[in-house]
């Protein structure tokens, strides 16, 4: 699928701010399942933009606006070709819980079994996860059940949480938005020693917002590791196995690793943020 995306983030400050330094994780990577045809990030007021690659191999752009300003606009435009990784007739069943031990020593998986800023595995979470797992022996089956459980039992509700809400709060409150659902799912998976990572990105909503949730802003979902298959995406917000309607932006242990825009400024004023995401299909 050839998808064009435009992600605009606009901040307005009640009083002029200065030394506004920001990091952006807004460039879709080229992976086995998606190729980023083009990606342009532009910042207003115009200033010098630079970039580096972080530990999770995400490209990070950064800039600093030193002069006082009332408004900051960050535009990310990209064209991405996506492929579906999953054959829905042959989902990756067959990797069993008892074989999960091998993942501990894998460099790729190790960080995604540990606690991170938003996620801490507790005995309560482990017991909760065991209840969902039931008598499943299969890692994919269990992961799928966790996704389904969250989709069915959690309330999609913006305003119930904020960007810094911890996974355990979500598991208690059973409400939130895609970021929270993904954190909850990552926590539950990790408690069962399933390597799980947090993915930020977008998806193309062919139903135009009627059935799927989270297409009006940047989205988040989860990838779990299945031996012999690799990382597979599961979206607890929409109860979907990730296919070619999804564009991956960045991956990390949790939101903190992948936050699309993160920054700090000098100034007493309040800031108001306005985000819009538009994903269009270019072919057929």
């Amino acid at each position: 699928m050839r998808l064009r995306l435009h992600h605009r983030t606009e901040y307005r400050y009640s009083e002029p701010v200065s030394n506004n330094a920001n990091e952006l994780r807004l460039q879709p990577p080229t992976t086995l399942w998606q190729s980023c045809e083009s990606s342009f990030i532009s910042v207003l007021p115009g200033t010098r933009l630079s970039h580096y690659e972080d530990l999770n191999v995400n490209v990070v752009h950064y800039f600093e606006i030193s002069k006082p300003h009332n408004r900051l606009v960050i535009d990310s435009r990209a064209t991405v070709n996506t492929k579906s990784k999953v054959n829905f007739d042959r989902l990756p069943y067959g990797f069993l819980h008892r074989d999960l031990d091998c993942c501990r020593s894998m460099e790729d998986c190790h960080p995604f079994l540990q606690n991170s800023h938003h996620i801490e595995v507790t005995p309560e979470i482990w017991r909760y996860a065991l209840d969902i797992k039931g008598d499943s022996e299969d890692v994919f089956q269990t992961s799928y059940a966790i996704m389904e459980h969250i989709f069915e039992n959690y309330q999609y509700q913006s305003g119930a949480t904020n960007v810094s809400t911890h996974a355990s709060e979500v598991l208690d409150g059973k409400a939130g938005v895609c970021q929270d659902f993904a954190h909850a799912m990552v926590a539950l998976c990790r408690s069962l020693c399933i390597p799980a990572r947090y993915v930020s990105g977008y998806f193309f909503d062919a139903t135009r917002g009627h059935h799927l949730r989270g297409s009006e802003a940047s989205h988040a979902w989860v990838e779990v590791y299945i031996d012999t298959f690799g990382w597979i995406g599961l979206d607890p917000t929409n109860n979907k196995v990730v296919d070619d309607t999804y564009i991956i932006l960045a991956r990390g242990r949790d939101y903190r690793d992948v936050a699309p825009v993160i920054g700090a400024y000098y100034g007493a004023g309040k800031s108001a943020m306005n985000v819009s995401v538009d994903v269009q299909r270019l072919d057929g």
Binding site: S42, P45, K67
Partner: protein
């Protein structure tokens, strides 16, 4: 028909080498034209030309007392661009228009690029079309160039290079659309066989771009196209576009600015206008701010614009980006604002205001093309290799007296394309490409563009005012 074709030492769009081996994407075309006899060709040519003349698809040549209207000569052999090649162009143009817009916003606001020492301040302020009136003005959606025509050429190795940006009132898109109609009529089956990306949604995209600028959100925007009038060389294009978009085509006298708002004079009274697609240079826009003697403009329109009550496309002050000295800095802008390498390179450019460059230019006049920084349409140019020593002296004096206004470039041997000459022979003629970029809510680039062809043998000047013609440009689906 290709039997006597001479590729010579140029990059040829169709032929790989001098032995008549052609690029794969030209195979079907080659087959079709190979055995075309003179009579059939003549018939097709007449079909197309009478069509153009009857529809009044003409342009006016300046400096001709009669106001003569001519058909823009059209060549029947289309230029074909494979999709992968086009993707690169599309990407490069997107990058460029983003950088140019960031640049324009920057120089009319904080001037970070000047402070960081990338572009010198006096180069910016010395640009003929720099508008100090725009300093600190926030334009709708922060976009300056909504409609851009960037001229591309291919060098001897077939690399696409940017020759110039036209960020004021680029014209030619109507020819592009009409050329396509003509080709579809003349070669319907070859057209179908090829699978060509359509261009006919341009007016619709243009209208969307204009509507996205409306300063009255929630309203159905009232858009109008402001033309200098019937005698403008591109008047046909103005009516063509206005008609296809279903908006009014207005002249300066049809508009009136009252207390910071702009209205159209209609038979039912005054109607407020939200967005003006103006095909009028800044100079003529408002006699109370710019040229006093302008009778084409609307007194008070700038006041309404600065108050944000009417949107203009393109914005005022974009001419800075058309300056050929500024052009030389575009690759640096791309690095600075977008943190990327330019996808489309510039033609190497020497700037006469730099002392080293100037010395080099003056020493090598007979090898270089010298251009005035603010002229377009192929005027104010010295073609070194074909110049007389008198012309060179004349230019040398001009360069010395006003170095800021001159640049020089090596002669790029533009790529050639088989073209029907003298109504029967096919010979190679030099071409360029002007794609049209729309920047509104999205950035849209119509697949292809206007391929202009220098019809005079050996000529490198493709401008319609100087013996140029055009071809249809086919971007393929694959």
């Amino acid at each position: 028909m290709f039997s006597g074709y001479q590729k010579e030492a140029f990059f040829d769009e169709m032929f790989v080498d001098g032995d008549g081996v052609h690029f794969d994407h030209y195979r079907t075309l080659h087959e079709r034209f190979k055995d075309l006899d003179a009579a059939e060709l003549e018939e097709k040519r007449r079909l197309v030309e009478t069509g153009f003349l009857e529809q009044g698809i003409t342009f006016t040549v300046y400096g001709d007392d009669q106001g003569t209207e001519r058909i823009f000569p059209f060549d029947l052999i289309p230029r074909i661009i494979p999709y992968h090649e086009w993707q690169q162009i599309e990407k490069g143009l997107t990058q460029r228009i983003l950088a140019l817009n960031l640049f324009l916003h920057d120089i009319y606001h904080d001037r970070n690029i000047i402070k960081d020492g990338i572009v010198p301040e006096d180069v910016v302020e010395g640009a003929a079309h720099y508008r100090p009136e725009m300093m600190g003005v926030d334009v709708p959606q922060d976009i300056y160039i909504h409609i851009c025509g960037t001229d591309l050429i291919r060098d001897g190795d077939g690399h696409y290079l940017v020759l110039e940006d036209n960020g004021r009132c680029p014209s030619g898109v109507s020819y592009l659309l009409e050329n396509r109609e003509a080709m579809k009529r003349a070669f319907p089956s070859m057209y179908r066989q090829y699978g060509v990306r359509p261009v006919d949604n341009y007016p619709e995209l243009l209208l969307k771009t204009l509507q996205s600028l409306c300063p009255r959100p929630g309203q159905t925007p009232v858009c109008a196209l402001l033309t200098p009038g019937v005698y403008n060389s591109a008047y046909f294009e103005h009516t063509f576009l206005a008609r296809k978009m279903g908006i009014e085509i207005v002249e300066g006298s049809d508009l009136i600015a009252i207390d910071g708002y702009v209205y159209m004079r209609t038979t039912k009274g005054l109607v407020q206008v939200d967005v003006i697609y103006r095909r009028l240079d800044d100079d003529f826009l408002d006699p109370t701010v710019f040229r006093e003697d302008s009778v084409l403009g609307v007194p008070g329109i700038m006041d309404a614009y600065l108050r944000g009550n009417v949107a203009l496309a393109n914005a005022v002050g974009t001419g800075v980006a058309d300056d050929k000295v500024i052009y030389a800095y575009v690759p640096e802008m791309i690095r600075y604002y977008l943190d990327q390498n330019p996808i489309l390179e510039n033609v190497p450019t020497f700037l006469a205001w730099r002392e080293d460059d100037r010395k080099f230019i003056l020493d090598n006049l007979e090898k270089l093309v010298v251009k005035a920084a603010n002229e377009s349409g192929g005027y104010g140019m010295l073609m070194g290799p074909v110049s007389t020593s008198k012309e060179r002296e004349h230019f040398a004096a001009k360069i010395r007296s006003n170095p800021r206004n001159f640049i020089a470039q090596p002669v790029v041997s533009l790529s050639r394309h088989p073209t029907i000459c003298d109504e029967k022979e096919i010979e190679g003629r030099h071409i360029d490409l002007r794609p049209f970029i729309l920047y509104g809510k999205n950035i849209e680039i119509i697949p292809g563009g206007l391929t202009r062809v220098a019809l005079r043998k050996g000529s490198l000047v493709v401008n319609s005012s100087q013996g140029g013609g055009s071809k249809d440009t086919w971007v393929l689906y694959r």
